[in-house]
Structure formats: structure tokens, C-alpha cells
Amino acid sequence: MSNKIAVQVDDLTVAYNYKPVLWDIDLEIPEGVLMAIVGPNGAGKSTLIKSILGILKPIAGSVSIYGKSYNKQRSLVAYVPQKGSVDWDFPTTALDVVMMGTYGSLGWIKRPRQKQKKAALEALEKVGMLPFKNRQISQLSGGQQQRIFLARALVQDASIYFMDEPFQGVDATTEIAIINILKELRKAGKTVIVVHHDLQTVPEYFDWVTFLNVKKIATGPVKDIFNDDNLTKTYGINYKVSIQE
């Protein structure tokens, strides 16, 4: 971890219709952390990521990636959306989906070539999905689909990775495979930001955490702020962290 700020969010407020989903969020994410965003359902975790990535338009506030706007820095950022956000019956193959990760660097009109294909195959290899490269995506299991999404982000070769619930609905083997890749990314100096649901695994997987429930409750190193106090503030119930003892 360095002293550089990878992602900075200032006064971010987002609303669907009238109800605010995120309220006045200030957030600084240091370079090189593996950070979990936790909070109850409807806390705005996905919304926060989507607003940072420019998918949603905030009502107020600004976001910067290494000091500049997202539009200028998008080549530094990769995104793993929620698995359920796409139609897996779409007529395409695993390799083809991973290739989509190269579309951003290609820009308009240009077609992927041998170089892009090679990068996609390498990413498939990394997530252990190379044998399935020609498989129609609807014939993959949930865990395999998640790995394909991860591979697609790896192809982008970014500095900052945003992931929306990458562990949702995957089996233990896939979970371990994914977390190992995330830790590798951190080792390589990348910043990884993950919307996470399973509080039990936070101290084991992550070194940085943000508590979110419409407002930002707390953000910082897991060892300092992952405690009953913040959990109670975020989830509104008296939450005991049993794993830490």
C-alpha cells in the first residue's frame, strides 16, 4: 500500500426518483488495498460502484480516479458486474465474453485480433476456465460464469478493479479460486474494491473495509475498524463479531 489515493469520492449523492440511495458520501481509497464494501440490502453498495464508474448519474458530488475524472482514466479501471445483470442465454461463447474485455482498448469499429485473443486465452487460463473456452455460456455453472466475468476484467489489465458481489452464488472451490486471484492482484499493486455480503470472511479476505448504509459509516483498515461498534451502526442490530476472538 502506498500513500497515493486511487479513488476519491466527494459529496456523492445519488437518488432513484425521490429517495436518496447514497447521501453525501466522502471516500478515499488508497492505492493497493483489497477493500470490501459491506452494508445491508439497499444500502447503496452497488449504486456506489456504478456511480464511480459513471453508469449512474449522481445528483451531486464528484469522483476522481488518480486525481482525474473517470472519463479520462477509464483505461485504468476494470469492472465485474453482478452475475445476474446479464442474460446468460445470449448466443455466445466463454471466450467471446472474455474478449469483450479488450473492446475498451480497441475503441470504436476496430476488431479484436490475434493479440486480443491471446490475452483473452491467458485470462481464461488464470481463472481455470481454458478447457471451457468454446462452451456456450448458458451451459456454464454459476461459479464458472462468475470466473468468466472475472477473466473479462483481468483482460482489461487495469490498475483498479471494481467487483459487484463476485462471491454470490458460487461454490467453495470457486470462492477460493477468486479470492486467490484478488490477492494476487493486490500483490501486483492493484487496487481491488469488492461489494461483499459475507461478514464472516471480511477479516480473512480483505485488508480494508468500508461500511455503508446510505451514508458512509466508516472506512479504513480492517484491523482497526472492523468491530462490533461499526457493524451495529451499519446493520442496526447488535452484531457480534465472533470470528475475531
Binding site: L53, I55, P91, T92, T93, G104, I109, P112
Partner: protein, 375 residues
């Protein structure tokens, strides 16, 4: 004229050739673009667009007073586009769901169009007759310039499709992701939608407002059954669409009283029907066959495993047992026993059965695999 006569005439007869070419091109372009509508789950959009085009036809007749098809279709295009973007607006700006927005605009525009049509019909003007052909279409009115126009639009459409293939694909599959990569998804979206509107408007003269959406959806739905590749799907949809056009025209031309539009749509429906049943990977027939075969195999394995458990308790694996014992096992039928004999796993003697060596070996493998999987 029978069908054979038609096909011998199609190359020499000018009118027949024009109509056939027109319907074939129309089928191809709507099939191609229909693939995108189907994959975006916007199947109903085509229906709304074609109905929304009707008032445009009427208004452009009222303004210009001509029945020139290009002028009228220009009006159709404008009102089709207005309808489409109105639907988009309703969906993004209000709480209404897309089906509500589609239904609303469809009936509103169609109602207004019908009103204008009846108004025009009451006018003391001999020129108005025939405007109602746009309701169900009349392929016989196609002339060479119409076909050129269709060919031109199809050409442009194909060019844009090939040029922005990658952008279209990523928008269809994962719009948000495309946005994070820096693609202006709104532009791509508008491009696709505009082409769909254009294709629909082109078909109004031939197939008509009411049935046009079938031209968009049927070839695409049929094509989806045969392939898992987007490119192949688009190609097949174009092919199915073109064939529907040709066969539909052939059938309607050989039976004098059948109007072309509905026949084309019915031919396209036959493509859908056949594809839904006979497609090897997604078709109902093969799915059912695979299902039954799997069940049979499983039943056979269960019976064999049951026999294995009994035979295992004896030193001699081929020791004969009463068939009656098998009745304790629910999955047992005479059919399965016969199959096991055919496979040479079991021999029968009177009312007793015994496992063969081969049967014992295959059963023990089965058994090992099962217990291994359980762990």
C-alpha cells in the same frame, strides 16, 4: 397457376420477379434486425412501431394528396420514430413498465391512425381509395423503385451492422459494462432502434401494420433455436426471412385469392414451429428424447446396482436368484430386465436370474463411481 408454374415464371415475368425480390429482401432485412429486437427482449417494440406508423401514412396523404408510396412511407417513418422515442421516454422517465408503455403508444397511435383513415375515406375525393392497404399490406403494389429502395436500405443496414458489430454485440449482452468501457451506449441504442423502425416501415406496404411485427420476430425466434453464435443467428434469421418472403409470395401467387402478407407471415410461423420442435440442441423433440433416454439409463443402472447388492452376498456371483426378489425394488420392470439380458449383464433361467461376470464388473464400477461421488 401452380407452384411449379410460379417458379418457372419468376425469372421471366416482370411483376412476379419484382414482388418476389421485394418480399425476399424485406424478409432478409427484418430477420436480420429482428435478431437484435429478440435478444434485447424488445419483441413487442416491433408491434408498437408498426402500429405507430399508421397515423404518419394518413397525415402525409392529407398534406401531399398523393399516394406515392415513398412519400407515405416517409410519413410512416416519422411517426414510427416519434412513437418509438416516446416509448423510450415513458420507460426512462416514469414508473411505468415497458409493456405498459408499448401497449399505450401502440393503441394510441393506431387509434389515431384509424380515425384519420376513416376521415380520409369520407372525403369527396376519388384519390383516397387504397390507403387501407397499409393495414394488411398488398405485395402486388410493389414496383421496381420500391425494391431498389429496400435493397438500398438493406445494404446500408448490412454495412453499419458489419462496421459496428462488436459495439452491437456488447450492447446487447451487457450494456452497463459497455458503458464503463467508454462506448456511448445511447448512440448505439438509437442506431439499432432507428434501423428497426426503418425496416418495419419498409415492410408496411407489403405486409401491413398489423402483421409486420411477425416479420421481425418469427425468423429471429426460429434462428435462435439452431445456433449458439450471434453471427450465425443473424445470418439464419435473414435466410429464414428471405425464404418466408419467397415461399409466401409463391403460395399466394399460385392461389389467386390469398393475400401475400398473411401468407408470408404464416410461412415464417412454419419456420418457427419446425425450429421449436426439431432443433437438435434446443428443440422440444430432442429434449424429450434425451430426457426419456436419461431416465431409462438411470433406471437400468439402479436395477443393476440392486442386483449387484444381492449377488455380492454370495461367493458365486452368478448364483441364481428368484425374479420375485426384484419386486422389492421399485424401479424394476420386466422391460429393464430384458434390456439387461440384451446387454449381456444378466442371464435368465426360468424364474431365476443371475449376474454375468460382465454385469458384475460393470455394476461394481457403477457402484464405485456412485460412492465416490457421494464423498
Amino acid at each position: 397457376m401452380d407452384i411449379r408454374e410460379y417458379f418457372s415464371l419468376v425469372f421471366s415475368d416482370y411483376t412476379l420477379r419484382t414482388i418476389t425480390l421485394g418480399t425476399a429482401i424485406l424478409g432478409a432485412v427484418t430477420g436480420m434486425l429482428g435478431s437484435f429486437a429478440v435478444l434485447r427482449k424488445q419483441s413487442l417494440l416491433g408491434d408498437a412501431i408498426s402500429h405507430a406508423a399508421l397515423p404518419g401514412i394518413a397525415i402525409s396523404f392529407l398534406i401531399t394528396g398523393t399516394k406515392d408510396s415513398n412519400t407515405l412511407l416517409l410519413g410512416a417513418l416519422v411517426s414510427g420514430l416519434i412513437g418509438t422515442f416516446w416509448i423510450r421516454g415513458i420507460i426512462t422517465k416514469t414508473h411505468l413498465k415497458s409493456d405498459t408503455a408499448l401497449g399505450l403508444i401502440l393503441s394510441l397511435f393506431f387509434g389515431f391512425g384509424m380515425l384519420l383513415l376513416t376521415f380520409i375515406q369520407k372525403q369527396p375525393n376519388a384519390n383516397q381509395a387504397g390507403l387501407d392497404k397499409y393495414l394488411f399490406g398488398q405485395a402486388a403494389t410493389l414496383v421496381e423503385s420500391d425494391v431498389w429502395m429496400m435493397a438500398g436500405v438493406t445494404g446500408i443496414c448490412l454495412f453499419v451492422l458489419l462496421l459496428f458489430w462488436k459495439e452491437f454485440k456488447i450492447l446487447l449482452f451487457d450494456k452497463d459494462y459497455a458503458k464503463t468501457l467508454g462506448f456511448n451506449t445511447k448512440t448505439i441504442d438509437i442506431l439499432i432502434t432507428s434501423f428497426i423502425v426503418l425496416a418495419i416501415v419498409l415492410g408496411l406496404q407489403t405486409v401491413g401494420v398489423v402483421l409486420m411485427s411477425a416479420m421481425l420476430l418469427a425468423p429471429a425466434a426460429a434462428a435462435r433455436q439452431w445456433t449458439n453464435s450471434l453471427a450465425t443467428m443473424v445470418f439464419l434469421a435473414a435466410l429464414f426471412g428471405a425464404f418466408s418472403g419467397v415461399f409466401g409470395t409463391a403460395i399466394s401467387a399460385s392461389q389467386n385469392n390469398l393475400s401475400t402478407g398473411p401468407v408470408i407471415v404464416l410461412v415464417a410461423a412454419v419456420f418457427v414451429f419446425v425450429s421449436f420442435i426439431f432443433s437438435p440442441s434446443r428443440g422440444l423433440l430432442f429434449k424429450q428424447i434425451r430426457f426419456i433416454k436419461n431416465r431409462r439409463d438411470l433406471q437400468l443402472h439402479k436395477t443393476l446396482a440392486f442386483m449387484y447388492n444381492i449377488a455380492e452376498t454370495h461367493d458365486d456371483i452368478s448364483h441364481p436368484h428368484e425374479i420375485k426378489i426384484l419386486n422389492n425394488f421399485q424401479g424394476f420392470t420386466k422391460g429393464t430386465l430384458k434390456k439387461l439380458v440384451e446387454k449381456n449383464y444378466v442371464t435368465l433361467e426360468g424364474s431365476t436370474w443371475s449376474l454375468t461376470n460382465e454385469g458384475f464388473k460393470s455394476a461394481s464400477n457403477l457402484y464405485n463411481q456412485l460412492t465416490k461421488n457421494d464423498e
